[in-house]
Subunit: 283 residues, 2 copies
Amino acid sequence: MTSSIVEEIRLSQGPVDLASRETDAAPGFTGKKADGKAALAAMADELADLQERLWAERTAGSERRVLLVLQGMDTSGKGGTLRHTVGLVDPQGVRITSFKAPTEEELAHDFLWRVEKAVPSPGYIGVFDRSHYEDVLIAKVRNLADPAEIERRYAAINDFEERLVEGGTSVLKCMLHISVDEQKDRLQERLDNPEKHWKYNPGDLDERALWDDYRTAYEVALERTNTEAAPWYVVPADKKWFRNLAVGQLLLETLRGMDLRWPVAEFDVNAEKSRLAEEASLR
Amino acid sequence: MTSSIVEEIRLSQGPVDLASRETDAAPGFTGKKADGKAALAAMADELADLQERLWAERTAGSERRVLLVLQGMDTSGKGGTLRHTVGLVDPQGVRITSFKAPTEEELAHDFLWRVEKAVPSPGYIGVFDRSHYEDVLIAKVRNLADPAEIERRYAAINDFEERLVEGGTSVLKCMLHISVDEQKDRLQERLDNPEKHWKYNPGDLDERALWDDYRTAYEVALERTNTEAAPWYVVPADKKWFRNLAVGQLLLETLRGMDLRWPVAEFDVNAEKSRLAEEASLR
């Protein structure tokens, strides 16, 4: 029932028109909200098993790891995806990095400097909550770098990600795609509910006023960096349950595709069994 | 039903005799395994709510945070506690650090140097899987430092933790207490099940042979560092479900005791509502 979600959300090559892509759909899934939540819950055991195999593999020298990049406009649900989908797996094997506005020190380096330091180690599922893509999104919209530098970055990102993939990292890039109306509802909710005031920042409305510029910047970034090695997935994200399910399914299918095996013991199992049996009189 | 688990596991002042403390008990809890699992699951929502408040608070400048230290012999279930108890809360707000044998660079510094770098930032629940206590446990048993240096470390740890507490960190120190027989069963299981071979290391049996030395080292460390500011909890850990429940209950009561409030908006809520309403014609 859920097997084609990943095919549906995978971005095909060529120009990107976000306005033509539905934000409130559930492509590849025929169920309703309750079915979607059940489907996500149902994948928890297999996800946990596969993650443990990935984690185990590193002890035998495997270099494999996963990097999940989450991008999207304010309120698109990066935090919710972390809580509900990434939260399904063992936190020991997860490393989440939230990228904020770069510090002065970070600005004094190449834009990938701070990103490089956050790439996951073998065995981990690394998650970027925002990422190096901000350096071709807000940086472009807000003119934080000159056009030639922005232009240079698309190729630099592709080179960087290709290098990650060659080093054993599965790179999954998700753009959580919401409509301008859905964002309004979510901002309204943050204003209406005092328990959500902390999530609201007056600057959010300034960014929102640039919605069209951001959409254009996303379209360019998606097209320019939608590589074979590290393709983009555009996740319809107005329905929170579908967003969570789609990212979960992508993670699940990625791990399935890695053919993860339990490492074979590098010690003599029978000899160790004998040692353990013989010290039975330890106490 | 679970209200006194925390009182039961809290270590009282004075000499510590681990042999006299039960490892397979469920102090403060009258239910069975299924009840314990249900009780842990039942606290998930409140834990998540309280953690989000802690996370929210930091946006208003709060310095508060939590540090959960997990110590215990091999197989005592530090990893399982991370998966089942720490795994209940939003991974965004959790930072887990696993302390391995120190590197050459780390050894060239004071023993607290690497620990200092891992303390949680405001809003976070930090978890140490092993910790600075290894520097008075394995370091003592294996003579990795001379006796005067080991002796110095107890006070240094107390000073360090007191400073953390003064800076807004709630420090929770749990010793996961298993019996020597339970460890044998768990090592046997790792040898019998090929899917668990990766968790087994022949060195585990060498450490096991020093069980009594470790117990003594623990007793000294627990007694010397069981401060008012950062007390120890000795968690009977032969029953995995009780171990998970007890650590969860400790975390829950700690967060409850912090009286966590949603931050009050520092912006003009009505003015922002008007701004949002007025740009209704954005699209």
